[in-house]
């Protein structure tokens, strides 16, 4: 039962918020959301000493599950900070934004703390349904379009996943992921693996299941896009890690490798031409998903590099989205012209995140890429690393282009932006963590390598 505590806290505070919101106590509803995240994070610390399987093995609170859950909660907290202030500015007056974030986070936590396919699916659906609603929260054409597209394609991918589960059940007679079962290269298992992978590749935005990403990011409210870019990815990659045993099957492995190659090339190339910052971030997130998926090829051994990358990536991406939110949906790159004069702190923050995303030292973005690439290279995939590095060279162009727009292009009228105090707090916190992880990564790496 103890394993349910974090989930119960999240859902419980979500329901309290729902009730409060019903009585138009919007501020209290938001507070309940913050409280839920903090309380659930604290409960994770207590759970850490009681690691193991719970509820007949349906929930697995191991070190990587707990660490990933913590990441999910921390990043959701950052998303809260980013959304706080932004929401009223764009006319989202109901408190349901925070309630949906809480439920989505609960779904993500379920996904990362189980090794049972049905439970993964339940978590994924909780996360997805909340996400579809989140994408459509802004009341305009683009947002609604994003919501519908995400929902229809999301259901499509869920069908793949369910079909994969059915095939898996047909072969093994249960839905627990066991090492012996996934290593079985029978035709039925291969097909099962492909369908399960397809479902998760959709969530992680890997080519060719990435196709929803740019439209949905562009249409969703900026904090929500930030949430999709990291929390959904953490959940998907952790679930991926649990079924990475399938990769001993060459057909499945080559399916993933082919997808990785297409992803890093496609993501980076198309990002070069984007004029909309959120589409640019979408393609950037596709490329990063490609890099991270390389760690899956190593199975459990790549886990620490993947988690380190996710930790840094979350701060870089949410940091950028804190700035993007501050420009209240003026998302064309042209809107960033002259930002360095009008809002020096926002411009400097954005420049820092872009540099980190491009992977320059001494930012965490550099170390994350370095550890991931060297680990994958040491695992025998040097040629794949070479492709990824060549493709990532292109990314320098589009990341620095944002900096060029902010610093080197002036314009007559003033850029439109607003300083949201909590969003600025999120920005500075992200900068701090990126520098911390970039300069003193030792503690985290020590932790990850010991426990994962």
């Amino acid at each position: 039962m103890i394993a349910l505590v974090p989930l119960l806290i999240l859902v419980g505070f979500g329901i309290i918020a729902l009730v409060l919101d019903l009585f138009l106590l919007r501020w209290w509803a938001k507070l309940s959301g913050y409280a839920g995240l903090i309380a659930a994070s604290i409960s994770l610390f207590f759970l850490f000493s009681k690691r193991g399987k719970f509820l007949n093995g349906l929930l697995v609170f191991d070190a990587k599950g707990i660490y990933a859950s913590l990441l999910i909660l921390v990043f959701t907290f950052l998303v809260f900070l980013i959304a706080d202030g932004y929401d009223l500015k764009v006319g989202i007056v109901e408190g349901e934004l925070y309630i949906l974030f809480l439920f989505a986070a609960a779904g993500a936590v379920v996904m990362v703390t189980t090794s049972h396919l049905l439970v993964i699916f339940v978590g994924m659906e909780v996360l997805s349904v909340a996400s579809y609603a989140l994408a459509g929260l802004r009341k305009d054409e683009l947002s609604r379009e994003a919501s519908v597209k995400y929902a229809i394609l999301g259901v499509f991918s869920s069908v793949f996943f369910v079909f994969g589960m059915a095939l898996y059940y047909g072969e093994t007679g249960n839905l627990f992921i066991s090492p012996e079962a996934v290593a079985n290269p029978s035709p039925l298992m291969t097909a099962a693996a492909l369908f399960l992978f397809a479902g998760l590749m959709f969530k992680a935005s890997l080519v060719p299941f990435h196709i929803w990403t740019p439209d949905v990011y562009q249409g969703s409210p900026s904090p929500v896009a930030g949430f999709f870019s990291i929390v959904t990815k953490i959940a998907a990659f952790l679930a991926f890690l649990r079924i990475s045993g399938f990769l001993v099957n060459p057909a499945v492995r080559w399916f993933l490798i082919g997808s990785i190659i297409l992803t890093v090339i496609y993501g980076n190339f198309v990002a070069l031409r984007q004029k909309d910052i959120k589409r640019l971030m979408a393609y950037s997130s596709i490329s990063h998903a490609g890099y991270m998926a390389m760690a899956l090829l190593l199975g459990e051994k790549g886990g620490w590099a993947l988690l380190f990358y996710l930790s840094v990536y979350g701060f870089m991406n949410l940091g950028s989205f804190s700035v993007i939110s501050s420009l209240v949906e003026n998302n064309s790159l042209d809107d960033y012209k002259g930002l360095s004069k009008a809002a020096p702190s926002l411009a400097a923050g954005m420049a820092f995140f872009m540099i980190s995303l491009a992977g320059f030292p001494p930012t965490g973005g550099f170390l994350a890429k370095f550890f991931l690439f060297s680990e994958v290279g040491a695992g025998g995939y040097w040629w794949l690393v070479v492709i990824a590095i060549l493709a990532s060279l292109l990314s320098v162009y589009y990341y620095l282009r944002v900096v060029v727009y902010m610093y080197m292009k002036g314009r007559v009228e003033k850029p439109i932006f607003a300083y949201f105090p909590s969003s600025l707090l999120a920005m500075f916190a992200s900068i701090l963590f990126i520098l911390e992880l970039g300069i003193f990564p030792r503690t985290l790496i020590y932790f990850l390598r010991i426990f994962i």
Partner: protein, 609 residues
Amino acid sequence: MRELFWLIPLFPAFGAAFLILFGRVISRKLVSWLAPSLVGLSFLFSLLSYIQLNGVWVKELFSWIKVGNLSIPFALQFDPLSSIMAVTVSGVSFLIHIYSIGYMANDWGYNRYFAYLNLFTFSMLLLVLSANLPLMFIGWEGVGLCSYLLIGFWFEKDAAADAGKKAFIVNRIGDFGFLLGIFLLFTLFGNLSFNYINSHVSAVSPGIATAAALLLFVGATGKSAQLPLYIWLPDAMEGPTPVSALIHAATMVTAGVYMVSRLFPLYQHSGFALELVAWVGIITAIFAATIALAQNDIKRVLAYSTISQIGYMFAGVGVGAVAAGMFHLFTHAFFKSLLFLCAGAVIHGVGTNDMRKMGGLRKAMPVTFWTFLIAALTISGIPGFSAFFSKDEILKEAYLSGHKWIWAIGVITAGLTAFYIFRLIFMTFYGEYRGEGHPHEAPKVMLIPMSILALFSIIGGWFPKSFAHYLSPLGYIKVIEASHSLEIYLLGASLILAIIGIYIAWLVYVKRKGKGWNFGFVYRVIYGKYYVDELYNFLFVTPYRKGSELINRYFDKGVIDRTVEGSGEAALGGGNLLSKLQTGLLKDYGLWMATGIIIGLFLAIRSLL
């Protein structure tokens, strides 16, 4: 002091940092107190450490670089060799800081000047006190940087900016060799501390030791202005005169000699490298001395004289007499910085560098005249003055070690030295005043350091025991005793030539007033400095520039730029093409995902067949 000597370089480091950060806002008065007194503290600490020194002190402050099997501690070493350098550097630097208060009083860059000067003192002290080669290299590059900054101190003057650039580029050539030498030593020994290398030289073959020693010596010829890389030093005289005295006479340019002495066992093991050091030194000595004969710029005469005297030091170290070389380095620091400070006082008084516009200054500037005369007598090797002992020591050791030719060239150079320095004295202080305006004596703040240096120029050589005795704890310095009669003959030879030199100078420039002596072609060649600068221009600079232009035009613009721009355009085009795939239509998106799973299934089926 054993636990505190590592503070010696830190005082000026603090001063430099403070002046660079706050130099714009603090008053000149504060700078005038702060900068010299910090260097004074360094001097005090050096002196106290020197007095208490026994054996070799090594202090490891922290582990600086640790990568793989390369481990370099930030370690300083205080031993007989580095103690002499530390005392000399901090002492001379202290006096020159004080002199600069007067000399730079009216300069708009006063605070910047002292920031650089402090930074230089720090780098130089780091260079001499470092216990390993990489740390020495930091100091080595640091003094090079300060030299560049101070030569080009009056950067609004084209000549100064060009001279700074020239010094920097020529030194880079040398430093490249130095760096390669460090790399080679690391692969040979796996440890770059001086003590380790010196005690393990026998482990490598003499051939490879020669290679390493010569690479390091390339660096030394650059920094210490020896053939063939001496050409930057005369131009370096564009900097302020106290800088010329400190950096380009007393301290930095002797770094090469110090380095060779520091790694003497390596050079000794090689044999050939040591011989080459001796010959490069002595040929530079006579070569530069002849150029000095015909120069009319007072500072250029001294610059060539510096090159020549450092040549002596290398010759001394090269014939195996480290102690004699270091002894001459020690005395030279005093008399040569004195010569420069006197020249500075003269320039300060008459407002020109050109000796043809001076003359008869004896009456207007009596203190300067007397101190200048003391320095001139010292450099000429007149008995009783300090350089007499040190130069004699070098020549004696050269003779005793069987290098008779080196001895002979050295004696002739001594004659030339006496001639050019007294030519300078006679042209400046005797005869009629040939310039305009009213020459006047320098202020006290300049005269006091000059007088102190004059005192040291005289007594600097009066050591009760030989230098070799003091250096012997290092383990590789041997003390040779010569018979007294031989010593007197050797002494006599150089003394006679020196007196002849002075006499000819008197004859030409006082008695005949510089008229009626024309050597024609020879004079023109010497006056044109053997046209070495022109030769280098023809051989290296012009072809390099032409080649660069060609490469720029054809290779850089044609090949590289086109490749870069082309690949950039190709990437953008690719992006354009791929982004067409994003149609925005839901049915197309569904098709993408279906295609993906179909390809997957195709792969699965293929693997079954």
